[in-house]
Amino acid sequence: MSAGGGLTADGGPATRVRGALPAFHVSRATRLHLVVLVVSVLVVVALALVPEFTTVSVTRTMITLFGLVALAQMWNLLGGFAGLISVGQQAYIGIGAYGLWFFGDELHIHPFVSVFLAAGLAALIALPIAPLLFRLRGGYFAIGTWVFAVIIMIIVSNVQTTGGGSGKTVISAALLPINERIFGTYWIGLTVAVGSILLTWALLRSKRGLALTAIRDNTLAAQSSGVNVFTSKLIVYVVAAFGCGAMGAVVAMNLLRIQPAASFSINWTAFAIFIVVIGGFGSIEGPILGAIIYFALQQTLSQYGSTYFLLLGVLAVVMATKVPRGLWGLVTARWDIHLFPVRRGLVLESQPDAPAASEAPVPVEHATP
């Protein structure tokens, strides 16, 4: 993991500027990030050990949480970083779920491998769809993604081999010994959740990440500065499809049942939007925080059905209008904490050990209009 690597100056002497300005270099990471790295590794290791010490039902509930984290991370990658608001990610969740069945039951590939093949299938399908949807902007892009999800759902519901409207049982996964299945699904779910975070972080750290934030803040300016807007958006869209596909396959392996109305449900999008709006747009921490809060709400309130959804809708509207940066936005506004080193800060050469966060950071990620 390269978070520690980021502790040294990014780019080395090449980025140093001398002359009238005091000498400085650009750095992403601070000492805080070393602490975060250590704590994150400990948390992941602890999470990995959870199924050894708890019941099957707790383990399966935790898999739901991992799914929510991955879903929110992918939705935020699209909406919060690339400005692509999708209300159709359920298309790829459903493709992931049905992909698991297809590779596992039809092609007899081990379900654990099938999860990743299903995710690859989702990414493959996203590739030709993206250019078509990119012809639409803003809200119309959003509805376009929805139309695509509806199309896939109708096809799956009307084809007999996929079980029609009543769906299928994923037999290849159901036939696994129970412990192997639960433990395996749990670890794959954890991998997908952690992977979605690392993937987002790696993408944002790269040159492409800068391009993305530039596009989100001002597409025209980014384009005229030489950013390839189309390629950047395409990469994000395909990556998000991959992540949602993996997440859909994990959920399907957890439930063992796939059904068009559930796998392609618009509720997935409702959850994603709710989590990101609560947790905070445009950060990696926000969706994690949001997913945990949402998970707690779901565990306690989802029995109330429509009332629960009504409450979610009201909360989403209130948060989006009153607290547009979400709860994590409140945290950063107050303490300027960034757990994941994706921002770049200036460090003066005279005090090379000073943490970047105490200097004036270049507000790359949070340029406000």
Partner: protein, 289 residues
């Protein structure tokens, strides 16, 4: 000859989709807002009318009351909520209107349950005229189509000839310049939303008389309205009628050719084809934001 019948049905169905599409196109044209709750607001109007009918009011009065209420809802919703989401970034209006859609759907589920409902127009909805021995025209779909034509002509007239229409066009072209000229954009936007919800209320009630409906029917109608707008070409009200007709034709002919389950898919596929080969639609007038 059956195919002619089916095609006629499809064309007339386009009128219903246009009723939903007018308001969506209008609001986008005036303030670049895509209202994801648009379909659900239409269904809300149908349920309000149903509520009045159940309390003993006749359907025409119930429909009129529902439309007036939705006009009021539109104004208040825009001034009290949606105006605050505009001009920031693209995300907020989408999230807020999506949230609204969820709120409306679930509030209706709580109040009216998930049961299918219907509005009875006293046999009007089932009567038909025989044009020839083989071709029959449904009276009600024909009326809905005529209503769509009249409504589009009316809104177009309002946009072209009235002071309010001029204000709509001015804010649409340049909101800041309009503001500098002394116009109150927040009021103009609210008027546009009031008009939009008035038209979608007509659409919702027209749908409710035609078929059964339930609280979740809104999302499909949003999608149809959206497809009609894009295929017709953004910024053109008559284009939405054409888009609606193309969609209606694709759905009914598709259902006839491949079986009832595939009709809606055919509509969606035709939309994707238009998007691929003619992305600005057939009558595009304004450039997207």
């Amino acid at each position: 000859m059956n195919w002619v019948n089916v095609a006629v049905q499809g064309i007339l169905l386009g009128g219903l989709y246009a009723l939903f599409a007018i308001g969506l196109a209008l609001v986008f044209g005036v303030m670049r807002l895509v209202n994801l709750a648009h379909g659900d607001l239409g269904i809300l109007a149908a349920f309000i009318a149903l509520g009045f009918v159940r309390s003993g009011v006749g359907l025409p009065v119930a429909a009129l009351l529902s439309i007036l209420i939705m006009v009021g809802v539109g104004y208040v919703l825009q001034r009290g909520l949606l105006n605050f989401t505009l001009g920031t970034d693209d995300t907020r209006p989408i999230v807020v209107t999506f949230g609204l859609a969820i709120i409306i759907q679930n509030a209706l589920l709580l109040k009216f349950s998930a049961d299918e409902q219907g509005l009875n127009a006293g046999g009007l909805e089932t009567s038909s005229i025989h044009v020839s021995k083989q071709v029959a025209l449904g009276v009600y779909p024909l009326l809905v189509f005529i209503l769509a034509v009249v409504l589009i002509a009316g809104v177009q007239l309002l946009l072209n000839r009235t002071k309010m229409g001029r204000a709509f066009r001015a804010t649409s072209d340049d909101r800041e310049a309009a503001e500098l000229m002394g116009m109150n954009n927040r009021h103009i936007y609210a008027l546009a939303m009031a008009l939009s919800l008035g038209t979608v209320a007509i659409g919702g009630i027209a749908l409710a008389v035609r078929t059964t409906f339930d609280p979740t029917a809104g999302s499909f109608n949003l999608i149809y309205a959206f497809e009609a707008v894009i295929m017709g070409g953004m910024g053109s009200l008559w284009g939405t009628l054409l888009g609606g007709v193309i969609l209606g034709l694709a759905q009914t002919l598709g259902a006839q050719a491949f079986g009832s389950g595939w009709g809606i898919l055919c509509g969606n596929v035709v939309f994707l084809i238009v998007l691929a080969f003619r992305p600005s639609g057939f009558f595009a007038r304004t450039v997207t934001a």
